[in-house]
Amino acid sequence: MTQNGDASRGMESLRGKTTLREILEVATGFEAGARDFYRALIPRVSKRIRYLVEDLAAEEQTHFDLFSAMSQRADIAEQVKLEIERTASDSKFSDCLQVQDLGEQPDDQSVLQYAMGREQAAMMHYGELAQTAPPGPIRDLFQYLAGEETRHKLELEKVYYATIYRGGGV
């Protein structure tokens, strides 16, 4: 399984979308896909690290709920403008990790690396789309989505450090 493959093709489909609601619906679909992926992964990993995958699925559900709620709003453009002011800068940490396939029985480090890699890929794709989109609400929306993915990646990096560098657990 590669993290960039399907996601990349999905991201490309965003280029053809012309309304904010359409873009948000596609982005929401990505989150649902990720959530379902983690939910399916739960029984595949050892029980001792299952909490990690459950947390990841819950995180994706939170994002799914956030984007779904936003797509239903009449003032999407205004809301996006407000949200992109909460910028998050990339820590560059995930650039230094080997991206690995999850394999049959992934350990906690592999799961976290996979999740960070996925967020990294999404962040970069949304960022590219924002750069190529003309100024206006659609660019703003891509910037917002890139910011959300960056924020999520930063959170995962904190969990990664607590588990791998500062851990001492199983």
Partner: protein, 599 residues
């Protein structure tokens, strides 16, 4: 009667225009002198509740009492002095002995109350009109009733110690130990901080009295790893010591070591005594580290038949396989373990549970099973290139070094990590390089800046003295491999290591890249437990808490026959593992005793 007699009374009128020589309102207009020992003041924020004022008071005028808003925390009992002015003689010994200079005396000396009980009060808590008085008695700078600086311990010079794995520190001699023990005010803040709650002031008093047999008895009451802890304990007790506020903390760890150094193995064995009266109950313990062996010691003393299974060929766990001999000589480990054996603990080495014996077999043949597996697996950074064979884990190399195996000492090495394990492997490699190549070429890189290194400050200092280049705030970016061989490590500068909430979250500056040459890269970051012996079915049955086995306060798992203790439950720390061993042994004993009663 003369004329003079008649007129003389009127001569007093000449004083009518002079200044008065008496005080009009002596109760209010006459302040005490600048250094008068008047009513007490206490700076509640500076006070640590050590109680030395209470201990020194010759009239028993001071009681330490709990007060609202001063919670108990590390290095602060939360208690504050309550003073009885029916007893106080204003000698100011309490002020002179105060370890933080929080207790002072104002120059106020008048206080009118109708209620006699009001003259017992808690300065700084019960508001008084002299609370902000600037004059009065304070302990003069430089005037102390105890020595400020600790007695230095002799240790090898860097150029000597790098030549071998001989122990660096010499240990106190009797005179040095007594002088150091004399600095202790016996406040006991250390007791609360020590995970094993060792009777620190009492065993320091034994050093002062030269009564080492009493000292050993006190040590073994709470810690069968006292010889080991006397050398390598994380000595959290010293971070709570009242003496650290105006000088060095008492060298508690070294005093513990001193006691153990004065007493022979035979004396220790006799003091500890043999096993308890046999109960007929059998306990299996997996892992011969501090937690497992402490539990074994307690359970054997209670009369249970205890067998400890150890996968490696010698007991001791990470104390033996993770700590280099220059810090902890193997003879010290052997002595502590031999005392544990002397109470009847059967330690079987080279037995790997899950391979040589199954966990199920242990379960059926014993009344209780304790897992004390430790954290013997090293984490990997998984940076690009880190899957190369010459990228090694510190815990593996330390284990090989202890076993005397040749793992191919690199001429140049890079270590990743800023904790004690990183320092241990860097200093081990330095000694091996010195022996093999005549010079040290080890670079240590860590994410943290120096102020936030997890390693003991002494370790960092000594590593630097031994020629190890320590580069802080460097994040591993890539292990560089050329023509199939490791040539070094690329790092990026770490801009910040904590986020705004204080969580560990390093962020990198990719524009600041450095290359550190080395033919071997050693990863010394986190550690984890190898819990594969549990097997899939039991792993699935057990309850877990965010990656660790969920245990109750006594260390019992969700399966009633199984307990877990030590680093695998609490994280890495020897004295914490010892404390956990006691806790779990008490829980196992309680359960076994209850079973016996219901028969």
């Amino acid at each position: 009667m003369s004329v003079r007699d008649l007129l003389s009374p009127f001569t007093a009128w000449k004083n009518l225009f002079r200044d008065p020589v008496t005080i009009r309102d002596p109760l209010n207009d006459r302040p005490g002198s600048a250094r008068y020992r008047g009513f007490h003041q206490n700076d509640i924020e500076k006070c640590i509740g050590c109680g030395t004022c209470e201990a020194i008071c010759q009239n028993k005028a001071i009681d330490m009492v709990p007060v609202e808003g001063s919670p108990t925390k590390q290095g602060d009992s939360g208690l504050r002095p309550n003073i009885d002015y029916g007893r106080c003689c204003w000698c100011a010994l309490c002020v002179d002995v105060c370890m933080t200079k929080s207790l002072t005396m104002s120059n106020a000396y008048t206080w009118v109350e109708s209620d006699p009980d009001a003259f017992r009060f808690t300065p700084g808590v019960d508001k008084k009109h002299w609370d902000n008085a600037e004059l009065g008695y304070r302990r003069p700078d430089g005037h102390r009733l105890t020595e400020r600086l600790r007695i230095e311990m002799d240790e090898m010079a860097p150029q000597t110690r790098i030549e071998s794995f001989s122990e660096i520190v010499a240990g106190y001699d009797i005179e040095q130990a007594r002088l150091e023990a004399d600095r202790c005010v016996a406040c006991g803040l250390c007791v609360a901080t020590c995970p094993a709650h060792m009777a620190v002031p009492d065993y320091i008093a034994a050093v002062r009295d030269g009564d080492y047999l009493r000292g050993v008895k006190l040590l073994y009451d709470s810690n069968p790893f006292s010889g080991i802890c006397g050398r390598v304990c994380t000595h959290k007790c010293e971070t709570a010591c009242a003496s650290r506020h105006e000088g060095d903390p008492i060298a508690i760890r070294w005093l513990k070591r001193h006691i153990m150094d004065q007493v022979s193995f035979e004396q220790c064995r006799d003091i500890v005594g043999g096993p308890g009266a046999a109960t007929g109950k059998k306990v299996a313990i997996i892992g011969a580290g501090p937690a497992g062996l402490t539990a074994a010691f307690d359970l054997a003393k209670l009369g249970h038949s205890v067998t400890v299974y150890e996968a490696l060929d010698k007991p001791g766990g990470m104390t033996r396989w993770g700590i280099p001999e220059y810090r902890l000589p193997y003879a010290s480990i052997d002595r502590d373990i031999d005392v544990i054996r002397s109470v009847g603990v059967d330690i079987r080495c080279n037995v790997r549970i899950g391979k040589d014996i199954t966990l199920e077999q242990l379960r059926t043949s014993h009344d209780a099973v304790l897992l004390a597996l430790g954290l013997q697996l090293g984490r990997a950074t998984r940076t690009p290139g880190s899957d190369h064979a010459d990228v090694r884990k510190a815990v593996d190399l330390l284990r090989q070094a202890t076993a005397g195996e040749d793992f191919g000492t690199p001429r140049q090495a890079v270590v990743i990590g800023g904790g004690n394990v990183a320092m241990d492997i860097a200093r081990t490699l330095a000694r091996l390089q010195k022996k093999e190549f005549g010079k040290v070429q080890v670079t240590l890189t860590a994410l943290e800046d120096l102020a936030h290194f997890l390693a003991d400050p002494d370790e960092i200092k000594e590593a630097g003295e031994e020629g190890i280049v320590i580069l802080d705030a460097r994040g591993p970016q890539q292990v560089v491999v050329e023509n199939g061989k490791v040539t070094g490590l690329k790092t990026w500068r770490v801009k910040a290591i904590f986020d705004e909430q204080g969580r560990f979250a390093p962020s990198y500056d990719e524009s600041d890249e450095q290359f550190h040459a080395g033919t071997m890269v050693v990863e010394a970051i986190g550690q984890m437990t190898d819990s594969s012996l549990l097997g899939d079915a039991l792993t699935e049955k057990l309850t877990w808490n965010r990656g660790r086995l969920q245990v109750d306060a006594g260390g019992r798992c969700s399966e009633s026959w199984l307990w877990a203790a030590g680093d695998m439950v609490r994280g890495p720390d020897i004295v914490t593992a010892v404390a956990d061993g006691h806790r779990v042994a008490a829980s196992i004993h309680e359960v076994l005793a209850a079973k016996e009663q219901t028969k």
